[in-house]
Amino acid sequence: MTRLVVAALGLILGSLPLHAETIQVTIDKFAFVPAQINAKVGDTIEWVNKDMVQHTATVEGGWDVLIPAAASAKMIVKTPEEVEFFCRFHPNMRGRLVAKAR
């Protein structure tokens, strides 16, 4: 019983985003700034779009975030990965996410 509680507690704690940070990535004049994001699992990436058109941050076969014009969108980093992302509407906009385990 005690073991079960400890295990359950461990699971809960393990899934909590301890000291998780929010990292801002600005989109201005059709460019991601910074173009390379270093994050840890559990961190939040806030995409701040300063352009007058909508963009996406998309990984081929992976995640896809729509960022409306002059607005922002958030996503939580879920898995450790090193991926290239781009905007589906403007594939010349590119960036790289390096996400490490916490």
Binding site: K29, F30, A31, D51, M52, V53, Q54, A69, C87, R88, F89, H90, P91, N92, M93
Partner: protein
């Protein structure tokens, strides 16, 4: 089939024969008119594609074009108003409009996959052409810094659209 191929070729030829090179530097009011005209042309072509195409990828691309170019034109109009500049029609914007009208006519005669292919190929060619004009003529000639900056942002957008159109074109083959 031969007729369709010929029509598609005619479209491509039209796109390449309109020269955006001018011997004299265009003024800011002329540049504003050229940029605005290029945006309107792309919106009109996109609206034709939305009404004619049955290909979801092509329609989605056309909707992206309408949304982006309308947003940029809104910003361009706000800027010319702020700067108190009246866009001035000129030979370049006139020849652009004329070529676009001919292209729309040729496109209207096509249907189905032939239409999709011709529309997307024309989008690649048109954006390439405008990119060249922005880089070599319009941006270097613009004297107002805000107009120059908007054109530079416009170039990034047109380059993005060209790549997007190339991706869609590759899928149509």
């Amino acid at each position: 089939m031969l007729i369709r191929t010929t029509a598609a070729l005619a479209l491509l030829t039209l796109a390449s024969t309109v020269s955006l090179a001018q011997t004299t530097k265009p003024s800011d009011p002329q540049i504003a008119h050229i940029a605005y005209t290029a945006d309107v042309i792309d919106i009109e072509a996109a609206n034709l594609a939305i009404s004619k195409s049955r290909n979801s990828e092509v329609i989605a691309f056309a909707r992206d074009m309408v949304r982006d170019h309308e947003a940029v034109n809104k910003q361009a109009l706000a800027l010319v108003k702020k700067l108190n500049v009246t866009p001035e029609e000129n030979d370049t914007s006139k020849s652009l409009s004329k070529a676009a009208a001919d292209q729309r006519k040729a496109l209207s005669a096509l249907d189905g996959a032939a239409f999709d292919k011709a529309y997307i190929q024309n989008e690649v060619a048109f954006h390439k052409q405008v990119n060249g004009a922005l880089k070599t003529l319009l941006i270097p000639s613009a004297t107002n810094s805000e107009l120059k900056s908007l054109l530079e942002t416009g170039l990034k957008m047109f380059e993005g659209h060209q790549q997007h159109a190339e991706q869609v074109a590759a899928k149509l083959k």
